[in-house]
Symmetry: D2
Subunit: 305 residues, 4 copies
């Protein structure tokens, strides 16, 4: 199939939507983004890639980082991780404290903020002071790119304005489900959100999830086959907050979005995709990004269903 | 692959679990079941089938019926159906009224009781007095078996003890999301739950969902390809109440369970499966049935992820 | 103190508010009311009464009836009643199902609909087919007026449109906290809501609550002193749904409102008051009635605080 | 009436209950208390006092401090205060985040932790760095006792273990209902909770609330008559978290409890009472203290109802 042609069709069809949605504004550093950008990259197992739009443009990966920390934590802890964070859809907005309260501080899944914070805490328990460095090195490794780093301004901005995340971590701590210093954990979490990547890098970085845990470009096993499948299933059921059902319904691929405007998606045993467009729909997911992926599976018939 | 051998292995491995779990007891007619039964059937596109256990034994399909009414309603209404019932996981026990209240009478998805009741109502709007007959005929057709019918005792029992379902329908009605007489709708719903089928029949009945909407045994298009995929996605994200994430995580197939002890699952583009064992886990899904399907995808590597 | 003069002042001061608020419209029979009416009656222990406005005009007492059924049930069951219905404020709109679900079918207090329905059920357990007759006779007795009766049109209207109440009773039944036939209980409840009384009658009917359980006009003990005080405390903390705190704050008297536009209030050891005006504030309480009572305690310094 | 004799009767009757309940243990400094203590003080308008038990023993006043900060804030802001904190019962455990989330960061009343934290914030807006000093001076003044101070160990303990309160303040801040630095506000709040007083001091300190805002011992107006009544009404409807209805029901007096084991209560136009016993019931209120006050109003007939 001529994927380049598919990307070109998609670029044309999403154009009228570029004015819709709203850039995330909860921190000033995110609000000041060029909001008409669009980029989409496909990475195949043999290293072939297809790109459209500004695929060199780096944006903060935000919640897409949860995919990498979940991988690290699941790899280390295996089933024990479920005692600390579940894998059920949350059925509530992404930063809801309600469910957490009714469920005694065990977040529903690693892709809501509460769950990602607990996941970060499990990593701090292993890697101590080197936790963020370990996360960053892991991303550099799966993406084979040493140049990746954080945006210090975004990190500081998250730190200054992240009141709901401070509320979450303190509440989870009150249920004894945070084992390290609150400041160490929350700084790790905010730093991972501030990592800057472009769609080319991200599509390469998640390729191992499409290939049963093995990076097809290096033949290195990143995670076991069965764990890779489980990560994909959590992406499908929980990857888009309270629009996860809708994403599965319309796109039909495991995916994970970030409030910075990026979405990664995985076609099992075939390829990885990343799309970027900063304006968000009502659920906090890239509006054009979601549409582009829906067009992609419609045109290619690559839905897993 | 030798699927018969796989089924035989599974039968051995699940044996120690046959004592675990509890038969549904909310109505007397369900509680009086032989609780050590196990049956599993696979149906291929060419008509080949593989069976183990008591695959002739008929049980009430209960919530599996929601799959057939959702198919009928989606086929007729298309996108308009979403104004009445959503397609997001509910993140709450299957009969919760809470979420319904916060979301103004629009059930989260067609597989929780509230959503299935609204779906039944949309069918009563079309088929009036013939609604249940239409549903039953549809099931007879997709399964090519005229002998299927309801168990009158179970139907009466549901009617007499279904207080939560009466609460649900009255509440939805108070939000004007029930358009027909409460008694007509609830009787339709209770009747569809009381339909008796065995695992052979059920595996044949859902085969069209594995084959993009076309019954491969008759080549008849039951529903469009894109709608069939969407039904599969809703099964994956919402098919097992508050254990949907766990089922996707462990089994990795679209599936739908019923409190009668049956579970159907679909391997897209390959086959349909039905498993039966009446004892339920804490989430109201067949305990042994869930395990059997997990063993199946582990052994066959047929997870969609 | 010249209470007649106080009433006259109040009538003047509330005039500009008579256009505000909205008549209850959930049933047609209530919506068709003359919405500029105002009436207020005071009844003293020696039989003296003070009246202003259309104090002969009869309106449906609605939730004020809960006061009489709670009195009957508490008199019969004593502390045992608390196993079936609590006495804590609900902190939620008056017909909320949420709290009921989290608290396993035990309504928070006898003045929210769920609690009044359970109270009605406890009376049906005692008085069987004569339950409504017993309630009506009790009201006739405390008010010394044989002419009181229900409005059949309002009763039928409640029956036809009371979907939320049907939802409530079915849900409570599912927790086994309804012991009689749903139809018998709900009809009793709807009938008690449809009783027609004017402000003179209602002020006389609740006088025993101001006088430690003894009707001062007849010297008859209706209920023990300690129970009378407890009924007053429940009126104060729970009498106005989710505006109970505000009513206590502004008026400072135990009171109970009905969606028909009436409010009764009790000045312990002094008098009983009833005010009527059919337009409701956002909390479902008579807007002008609440204001009139606030003016009353400000002018007379009769707040219990 | 011989109040000393009443206190002596009460002391005898509560003795068998001194073993019931549990001392607060959420911070170590509270857990290490002598848990069999009992003390009760009555203060009359003419300065006469009645005492029983160890009425010189100082305990941390904890949530009773909310009464004093609410007085200060209501005095300064008047009705404007309601934009920031309501006056409705919460119907939920005292530190619930759920209700806060559904109500956009406006706490239900000044006596739940969230509401007291917002109240502290409104005081920091006025008194800046002198806020805690102003609160402490106010308490010294109404109690005419310069020796009152905080327990530094309890303060530090609250600071180190108050994760839920940190969660609350961050969440409220995310709704922009905290206007000052989080650290300044929370330290003020934890300090006010750590103030040490005995039952004699506390009964004197709340006497102005029994006397329509005027300290009868000094004739000084602390707050207006109408505001004093309103504070009493909030005590009655909200003073005991989710047992406020029960306290009103059984005791029938405006009161405010603290997790340190103290309860103050007010008999309007007559006296103020303070009781202390550190073991708490399931609702976090002094078990023996609640019973002692119930016995008091039963014996003296001083319930406001």
């Amino acid at each position: 199939m001529d994927y380049q042609a598919v990307l070109e069709e998609i670029e044309k069809e999403i154009k009228p939507l570029l004015n819709e949605g709203k850039v995330a504004s909860y921190i000033p550093a995110l609000a000041n983004v060029d909001d008409n950008k669009f980029a989409m990259s496909i990475m195949m197992f043999d290293g072939t890639s297809y790109n459209i739009g500004d695929t060199d443009f780096k944006f903060s990966i935000q919640s897409i980082s949860k995919l990498f920390t979940f991988t690290l934590a699941l790899n280390y802890y295996g089933k024990k991780l479920y005692d600390r964070v579940g894998h059920e859809p949350s059925g509530d907005p992404f930063n809801s404290l309600v469910q957490l309260e009714y469920e005694n501080g065990i977040p529903r899944n690693p892709f809501i903020n509460a769950g990602a914070i607990v996941t970060a805490d499990t990593l701090v328990s292993i890697y101590k002071d080197n936790t963020f460095k370990t996360i960053l090195n892991f991303i550099k490794e799966v993406c084979n790119d040493d140049s990746i780093n954080i945006n210090e301004e975004i990190f500081q901005s998250e730190l200054e304005h992240g009141f709901r995340n401070f509320a979450l971590i303190n509440m989870i701590r009150s249920y004894n489900n945070i084992h390290n210093k609150i400041d160490d954990v929350i700084q790790t979490y905010f730093k991972q959100c501030s990592i800057m990547m472009n769609t080319q890098q991200l599509s390469r970085a998640v390729l191992f999830l499409a290939n049963h845990g093995i990076n097809p470009l290096t033949n290195e096993e990143i995670i076991s086959s069965s764990k890779a499948k489980r990560i994909n299933s959590v992406m499908l059921t929980c990857g888009h907050y309270d629009a996860s059902g809708d994403f599965a319904y319309k796109v039909g691929l495991p995916g994970k979005s970030g409030v910075g405007g990026g979405i990664v998606a995985v076609v099992p045993q075939k390829m990885a995709i990343c799309v970027y467009s900063p304006k968000l729909n009502n659920y906090g997911n890239s509006l054009v990004g979601t549409k582009a992926l829906e067009l992609f599976t419609t045109k290619t018939n690559l839905s897993i269903f």
